[in-house]
Assembly symmetry: C2
């Protein structure tokens, strides 16, 4: 078990790597914990949560909405939750998003911890405090930035993770490599998903390395005034198609990364070879790299993106593998070229 | 027009006293503003808001709930609101609470300003960033702390304020006097509501003095770790009876202040004379000082109060007029003595 601490504006966040679920007691008394999870995770790991109060959600992005938050709030009231209660989100990105959001607004903020159970949760969603729910097809349109006090990594949850969820998580790992870490990119080129899944030491070090990449960015820029924007790489077109086509988040981001590479070639001088390496790496990890869609519908969703400002979109573009920047791209340009970008 | 600036953890807040509504342009361009108001205020002051995009809510505490927030969110999406949009809440406490909450969660936070139109809004609700909506009879059970960038005081809104709303606002003014300002308390004893209403200079100075009292407390302790707790004086029993009896906020707080004085006499050595002066002053400003209620129902609501921690309630008690402190009081004690306190 290794504990790394990160300091945010209002809170210190402890990352407990290579821990077991029971280590929760180092942060909070069992009777002050309310676990928020989903039915999939709960069915498979019920024995871990024995003796805890549990709120179990219907799984899936479709349920990441205000109705689920309303249900959680009602149950928190029923459980007479006070401000010292620890809400602990145990699950993937959907669960930690809902748990984090509910914890941030209930009584204007109760205590919060995360136990991410998926690759995507461990390397991305549980880190940085961003939470949110969707409004119709608009992703994360409502939410807050609210840090957990701890993130506990129990790798035994990965034993039951379906392969589709492994693939899902690798989109964010490849994203990290693209924007910040050319060495990680090469390493991912050398291995395959199968190699990595078979080697628990490699999994652990990959997760910890990626958690560190994200933590470093978000502690330096908690409220996304600067470098945190880079983490949106692939997420502009990604979010626009995700709920439109009911894609898993990582799959949508993968297609979004390809689109962002195309745009980077067009207007940011990204080399053809680098763009090709990105597409190949995504495909190697079984991620989709194109989609048939209704471009006008995609553009309509794009207009509501959080990164739009009047007639411009703040778009994250690659300079080369391992280096990205955010640039304003006119909405007109995006509209005109959407077919050749996406 | 006088501009006072106050610095919070994430933002600087400008208070523009003795301003006119049109001065909004000093903070934001008209086309980047979305006004949130209610039908009462809009009907009476429509000419001020000409040319602005307006979302008008159904008035009343009954509508300070998630459904109203959902409606606002839908309209913000329809208006293609981006993160640089200024949401400006124009109204009393209910409006600024909903506007502040919606602004804090939409796209994880857009820009925010307030134009309070009631005494209560001007001296209390618009200041300090606390927002929230009710969940059933539970007051402000869900919300955030999110500062506006400006609070604009246009006293001409008070010309149309019903007398009941004047009375409503004086509960918070008397609260400020009780916890922080014995001189203000004596001044309020010398004047009457009628005197004050008739003297626009006096109104302005009273509002600015009270805004300053609250601002000083909340800038020193934005997240309520210390002195900000004192502002909850009268609000524990107050919140418990407010929605149960559908009382105006100030009326409920007035009864809550009397209850807190009774408790302060019992366990904090508050003198009988001081307690009597408080009750007299509330009555002088036409505020109610007692209520017939179902004590068990009140206690049931009390249990969910944000200031409860396990078996204790952090209760704000008076030491003497002008001086208060927060103390844990056991829930059992409150239960046992609720009849003689309330």
């Amino acid at each position: 078990m290794r504990n790394s601490s990160y300091t945010f504006s209002q809170k210190k966040v402890s990352c407990l790597f290579d821990a077991s679920f029971g280590d929760i007691h180092t942060f909070c008394k069992k009777e002050k914990v309310i676990i928020i999870t989903d039915d999939h995770v709960y069915q498979q790991h019920q024995e871990k949560m024995e003796g805890f109060k549990v709120i179990s959600l219907t799984p899936g992005e479709k349920n990441k909405n205000q109705q689920s938050v309303d249900l959680v709030i009602d149950q928190l009231l029923e459980l007479e939750t006070d401000k010292q209660t620890f809400i602990v989100g145990v699950g993937g990105g959907v669960v930690t998003d809902i748990a984090g959001y509910a914890a941030s607004i209930f009584k204007r903020g109760v205590r919060l911890g995360f136990v991410p159970t998926s690759i995507l949760g461990m390397v991305d969603a549980a880190i940085g405090g961003k939470n949110g729910v969707d409004v119709g097809i608009y992703k994360n349109m409502v939410g807050t930035i609210y840090q957990p006090e701890f993130i506990l990594y129990d790798y035994s949850f990965l034993d039951t993770l379906p392969v589709k969820e492994w693939i899902n998580g690798f989109a964010e790992i490849i994203k990290h490599a693209c924007i910040k870490d050319a060495l990680l990119f090469s390493m991912l080129e050398r291995y395959s998903l199968h190699d990595i899944q078979a080697d628990s030491t490699l999994i652990a070090s990959l997760i910890e390395q990626n958690a560190a990449i994200k933590m470093e960015i978000v502690t330096a820029d908690e409220y996304e005034k600067a470098d945190r924007k880079l983490l949106n790489f692939g997420h502009t077109f990604g979010h626009a198609i995700e709920n439109l086509h009911e894609l898993p988040h990582g799959y949508a981001v993968s297609i979004g990364i390809v689109a962002a590479c195309n745009l980077s070639e067009k207007i940011n001088g990204l080399g053809f070879d680098d763009a090709q390496r990105v597409v190949k790496l995504l495909a190697k990890y079984h991620l989709p790299v194109d989609i048939e869609t209704d471009y006008e519908k995609v553009f309509d969703v794009l207009k509501l993106d959080k990164k739009r400002e009047d007639d411009y979109m703040h778009f994250v573009l690659l300079n080369k593998i391992g280096e990205a920047e955010a640039k304003p791209v006119s909405m007109n340009f995006l509209h005109e070229h959407i077919k050749s970008i996406l």
